[in-house]
Amino acid sequence: MAATYHAEHGTLLERFFERNRGPLLVSPALAVLVIMNIFPLLWSFGLSFYRYRANRVKEPEFVWFKNYEKVLTDPVVWERFQTTAIVVTVDVLLQLVVGFLLALLFEKTFPGRRVLLMLVLTPMMLSFVAVGAFFRYYYEPTFGLLSQAVKAVTGEPFILLGSEVGALAGIIFADVWMWSPFVMLLVLAGLVSVPKHLYEAAEIDRASWWRRFWTITFPYIRGLLLLAILFRTIEAFKLFDIVFLITEGGPGTSTETIAVYVYRVAFQYFKTSQSAALGYILLFVVIVLTNLYLFFVRRRDVEEQ
């Protein structure tokens, strides 16, 4: 009774505040989340079932799955998916390789390691806009560093972004440059968690470097590697900023990833509801990828026991 004594007195409003202090304290954050995040999410989900263009005054018309049907049967969408698949595969693979090699390098102590590590981690902390702008100038045909360097050798300016393969390579290089340090951090965490005496035991057991790596080191970094793959795949799948800043999808549509395409459909062609449908298809793909990862992790846990 003593504890609730307070609540029995005061005005109605005071009693309400007293009883609901916890929920009230959380409510501003919840409100922001709902207004800025959950509501638009549900709203756009609803929109994807209507025929609606944001630049027309026409009443939205409910059309069931027509938008999804249209998007999924559109050959352009499949082309963009293909472009995205190429970018994701090469991008993630390179990030893994580079990140892994960096981790092997930084696992050892050597003079200047701290400074070098800081420098290597910097790209990850830059904003996308900075990285995009930086590489755009870097690849610039007339005064860009890359072109100048090639010119010094061949005498001809080099237009990397002029060809389809060159443009893809330029984008992938920028993303690998930016995100390999992230993979490195995860792998490094795995590498340093390996007990040192296991390596000594392996040395006494005369194991080769290769076998030592697969039987001792790799099991310790496998989980973190999977996590790195998942994160980087999802991110690469959504790759937009760098592409938009460096090539805007060009030349032609050769570097137009699915994320860039969604942007175009929504804000250049103003097919609002169609882009919403495509957005949800993307979300679905990412959810599938995530669950695939969780499946692997669980299967590994079962194996361990």
Binding site: P195, H197, L198, E200, A201, A202, E203, I204, D205, R206, A207, S208, R211, T215, I216, P219, E304, Q305
Partner: protein, 364 residues
């Protein structure tokens, strides 16, 4: 099979001198124990022999061949770590087969050797399980198995029983003896436990502060320790060290003045001859050499401070003329006394040793 010889091995980590000149000879097929308190240099010695650490100075030979510059892989030794260092992601079978994989053996050969070793160590039932699911004793035996399966010329055991409970330790001590009898490989075994050292070693080296102070058989280590430090490391309960002064007795024979009695020095006459009278000595009295005597039978009066029953025996902590003494009596005898009781004790037995008070070396 190998004969191992270390001479003048030194090793420092920064300002810490782990080894200050280790000289050691281990005979072919011998079970040799390196015994000393923690941080005495046992592990460093083994690691230097295995090649995991480079010594700062000194030489290391096996069968007369200098090992400096020989990589770990080609030293043909096996080591069991205190932490066992089992490969956590491999099964018992894979752990055992690990050292064999580099020997280019046929699959059937590997299989039969793994099974044979597992049989010998009684871990056959764990072959397809991982180390984490094995009991402490099974992990221990697996670690030994991984060492013996390759049939190396030298075994290095680094405190292999320290992480086990008392009962298991006892069983495993017997196991080590049995294994060594069956395999006969030269073995160097480091332990901080005197019971282990004395019970399984054919010869024992006492190592302290990076130096070897005595190499001897277990019984001689107990009976004739070279100095007071070795004397206090060996024997349980530890030896009583009592301050005394050498003085000539009335008959001209040497005698030692202890706070609670005068000790006839005739037994140590040879050792004492070189010493001047008045020399300060430490008299090492084994707890087993003290006996209770009836009042009025000429014993030294003492008071019981604490009684520690051990089951079969009882340790009595006494005070005689202000000097703490420990003695051992049969449990039935010990049960008759409680703290505060007055008793009379006498000194018997030939294991009493004399040490110089200042340097600690044994004189007789």
């Amino acid at each position: 099979m190998a004969q191992l010889r270390l001479s003048g091995l030194t090793k420092s980590y920064g300002s810490v001198h782990a080894l200050r000149g280790i000289d050691l000879e281990v005979e072919d097929g011998e079970f040799f124990v390196l015994f000393g308190p923690s941080a005495a240099g046992k592990t460093t010695t083994l690691r230097v022999i295995a090649g995991l650490e480079k010594p700062d100075g000194g030489t290391l030979t096996v069968d007369g061949h200098d090992l400096s510059g020989v990589p770990v892989k080609r030293r043909d030794m096996a080591m069991v770590f205190q932490s066992f260092a089992l490969y956590p992601h491999l099964t018992t079978f894979q752990n055992l087969a690990y050292p064999l994989r580099e020997m280019k053996l046929r699959r059937a050969e590997i299989d039969s050797r793994v099974r044979e070793t597992a049989e010998l160590l009684r871990i056959t039932h764990t072959l397809d399980r991982r180390p984490a699911s094995l009991s402490g004793g099974e992990q221990q035996r697996l670690a030994i198995g991984r060492a013996i399966i390759r049939r190396p010329r030298l075994f290095l055991f680094d405190e292999p029983l320290t992480n086990l409970d008392a009962k298991l330790r006892h069983d495993m001590r017997a196991e080590f003896k049995r294994l060594h009898r069956e395999i006969g490989t030269t073995t160097l075994y480091a332990t901080p436990d005197q019971l282990e050292a004395l019970s399984i070693g054919e010869r024992v080296a006492v190592i302290q502060h990076g130096r070897i102070t005595q190499v001897d058989t277990p019984d001689r280590l107990y009976a004739r320790p070279v100095d007071r430090h070795v004397a206090s490391l060996i024997g349980d309960p530890p030896i009583n060290l009592v301050r005394g002064t050498l003085k000539p007795s009335s008959a001209g024979a040497p005698a030692i003045e202890l706070p609670f009695m005068e000790l006839d020095g005739d037994r140590w006459r040879e050792g004492l001859q070189a010493l001047e009278s008045g020399t300060e000595l430490l008299v090492g009295i084994r707890p087993h050499d003290l006996a209770l005597v009836d009042d009025g039978a000429g014993g030294v009066p003492a008071t019981i401070e604490i009684t520690e029953p051990q089951g079969d025996i009882t340790i009595l902590d006494l005070k005689a003329a202000g000097v703490p003494l420990r003695m051992v009596v049969a449990e039935a005898t010990g049960a008759r006394y409680t703290a505060g009781d007055s008793v009379h004790i006498s000194l018997a037995g030939a294991d009493t040793r004399l040490f110089l008070s200042d340097s600690g070396t044994m004189v007789a």
